[in-house]
């Protein structure tokens, strides 16, 4: 009990400490605290501000010498790693309460206490991660103030109100989270349970608003608004917040966070499954891993569309930025991205196929798995085929140019859009087969229903191929881009229609037998680990690309980056930094998992404590 109190106090202490630091830094940014005497950078900021009329927020254009160097540390790499670590943890702690809320609500509706226990265990994992998120957020703010004072001053000048409310909302989020977690067992039953669920809803609302605020700051740096051509703030805060890329990022991050959170708690369940001793414990963590994977897949399916929407909006905002993104130096990172996304799909599917072994009826569908695997791997290969190849002069001559005769056509977007839609549909099919594994349909029209479902998929895939091949190779660019929308719509219609149809076919179905939770091979758990690692790597990589397309600008077109690092690093260098970040994050996540394990372990040292007589 004492240990629990100490942990609670430590968590509060850390959270409040970081929040206080944030408020302090934001007030500094607002100029409430006189920065004079804080060293050369602060003096520079003060001098340049003096040159402007009072109250005008305009970007300063510092020279290379104005960027502080502290202890020989490379400021770009430090800010890069700290920002990325903060984002990974933030994505995790924002996502977990979303599905904890949903699982708790399912538990309330079904009155099945297992859901409640699982939801509690999910939120327990996020508690320590929450402290780490706050610590990383505080560290990031310090790093920005210390290494990029002019940029921070400019952003704080424009976003002072949102930054101040952000700091206040941080208290609200902490309060909601701690009441939600520590009050879990207290707020049980009847009205109290409703109250608890409401706190969960508030926690999600506050967390989402916090993320939207932070998204406004970063998208302002990519697509500034609310300022004139010279970057002078017009006073239109909503305009600056609601800039061109704000909503695309908001949408993409909400969906991606859920998928990511699912993958991390899936890894937690896998860790617990592999270290479990008893069959009951194994069954519990198998169920938890399955649920986490289901959440991750459900959010993963619409994610490529949200990503496509974001990329299309980047193009729409600035063609130059869009071409840098996918046609310039970053294009090769998209090939790595494609490999990682393919890994996500393959590992998620593999986990489902292994999971069919939980049911005695699963064997009926085993023969289909190889066909699913062939199609998904085929789509995966198309998905990551590059348009051009990295070649030596001799190879270039032998090939007769940078484009391969057969593989070159697979490198363009229509081929990739077609491949990803098919990959998504076959993942849906895997899930449908998994759901059917333990059921025997009893409705009289089951055979006709199955045929209809196959026809739905066949017609949809034919349509996706028609749009991808005809519009992709026999029309112009406008048609190529435009036809991607009906492709997406076709996929979504098939997913919804087949799910509804399947529900009707299996209404009142008989069960083959009880599901044997825990009867799953260990290698399925490694698929869950792979899912978490691939997600983390992917987020790091894409985060770098999103930020990197600003190139030599702090704020695109308005505030130049004049630091020594204002160049795009080599792909190998960038990939190494992202990989180091991934290893650091995974190490911290293992620490979080270990803490949750330790918190449930008690040692009884014989003879250590004095015996107390009654």
């Amino acid at each position: 009990m004492g240990g629990r109190n100490a942990h609670r106090q430590a968590s509060w202490g850390k959270g409040l400490g970081v929040a206080a630091a944030l408020i302090f830094l934001v007030t500094w940014g607002l100029g409430v605290i006189d920065p004079a005497g804080w060293g050369a950078s602060a003096a520079f900021a003060q001098e340049t501000t003096d040159a402007l009329p009072a109250g005008v927020v305009a970007p300063q254009q510092p020279s290379e010498a104005d960027y502080p160097t502290i202890a020989g540390v490379n400021s770009r790499v430090v800010v890069w790693l700290v920002a990325q670590l903060h984002l990974w943890f933030a994505a995790f702690v924002l996502a977990v309460p979303i599905f904890v809320f949903i699982i708790e609500a399912i538990g309330m509706a079904t009155r099945d206490e297992r859901y409640d226990r699982m939801a509690y265990e999910f939120i327990k994992v996020s508690i320590t991660a929450y402290s780490l998120t706050a610590i990383m957020g505080g560290l990031l703010t310090f790093c920005l103030v210390l290494f990029y004072p002019h940029l921070f001053q400019y952003l704080a000048g424009i976003f002072k109100e949102t930054m101040f409310y952000y700091a206040l909302l941080f208290f609200a989020e902490s309060a909601c989270l701690y009441i939600y977690y520590y009050g879990w067992h207290w707020l049980q039953g009847g009205f109290r349970k409703w109250l608890h669920l409401t706190v969960g809803l508030l926690l999600n609302a506050v967390g989402t608003v916090l993320m939207f605020f932070a998204n406004a700051w970063l998208t302002f740096m990519m697509s500034p608004a609310g300022v004139d051509a010279g970057g002078v703030f017009t006073g239109d805060l909503w305009g600056a917040v609601h800039n061109f890329l704000w909503n695309p990022i908001n949408l993409h991050r909400v969906i991606a966070n859920i998928a990511y959170g699912g993958s991390i708690v899936g890894a937690y369940a896998a860790y617990k499954f592999l270290s479990a001793r008893g069959s009951e414990e194994k069954a519990h963590y198998d169920w938890m891993g399955y649920t986490a994977n289901l959440i991750a897949i459900s959010a993963l399916l619409p994610l490529p569309f949200a990503g496509y929407y974001l990329a299309a909006e980047i193009y729409a905002y600035s063609q130059q930025m869009g071409i840098t993104l996918m046609g310039g130096i970053f294009a090769w990172l998209f090939i790595i991205q494609a490999v990682l996304i393919g890994t996500l799909f393959l590992s998620a599917n593999y986990y489902l196929w292994c999971g069919m072994g939980r049911s005695d009826g699963g064997v009926r569908y085993h023969r289909w798995v190889k066909y699913l695997a062939i199609v998904i791997i085929g789509a995966f290969l198309v998905w990551f085929t590059p348009h051009t190849l990295v070649l030596t002069n001799e190879e270039l001559k032998a090939l007769g140019g940078p484009y391969h005769k057969y593989l070159g056509p697979l490198g363009i977007m229509p081929a990739k859009n077609t491949a990803v839609n098919i990959m998504i549909l076959f993942t849906t099919l895997s899930f449908i087969l998994y759901r059917r594994a333990n059921k025997v349909a009893t409705v009289s029209w089951a055979k006709a229903g199955n045929a209809a479902q196959v026809a739905l998929f066949a017609a949809g895939i034919a349509n996706i191929l028609f749009l991808g091949i005809y519009h992709g190779y026999f029309t112009n660019t406008v048609y190529k881009v435009a036809s991607s929308i009906p492709q997406v719509a076709t996929t979504l219609i098939i997913i919804v229609a087949s799910t509804v149809l399947d529900r009707f076919i299996y209404r009142g179905a008989n069960e083959v037998g009880p599901i044997h939770w825990g009867r799953v091979p260990d290698r399925a758990q490694y698929a869950l680990f792979l899912l978490a690692v691939a997600f983390t790597w992917l987020m790091g990589l894409m985060g770098y690309i999103r930020s990197g397309i600003r190139q030599h600008w702090h704020v695109v077109g308005i505030m130049r980056d004049n630091s020594a690092d204002a160049y795009t690093p080599t792909l190998g260098y960038a990939a190494n930094v992202v990989s180091i970040g991934t290893v650091l994050f995974m190490a911290m996540v293992i620490f979080v998992f270990w803490l949750s394990q330790v918190s449930g372990t008690k040692t009884h040292p014989a003879g250590y404590w004095k015996e107390r007589r009654a």
Partner: protein
């Protein structure tokens, strides 16, 4: 076989027509025709 073939053909044709109508509608909304007209 008849249990499968008839519903398959009917649903395939219906869904195929439906998807083509969807393509036509979405392309029209973007100011384009379903088939490339140069």
């Amino acid at each position: 076989m008849k249990n499968y073939a008839v519903p398959f053909v009917l649903v395939f044709l219906a869904c195929g027509a439906g998807f083509l109508a969807l393509d036509y509608a979405v392309m029209s909304l973007q100011g384009l025709s379903l088939f490339f007209s140069g």
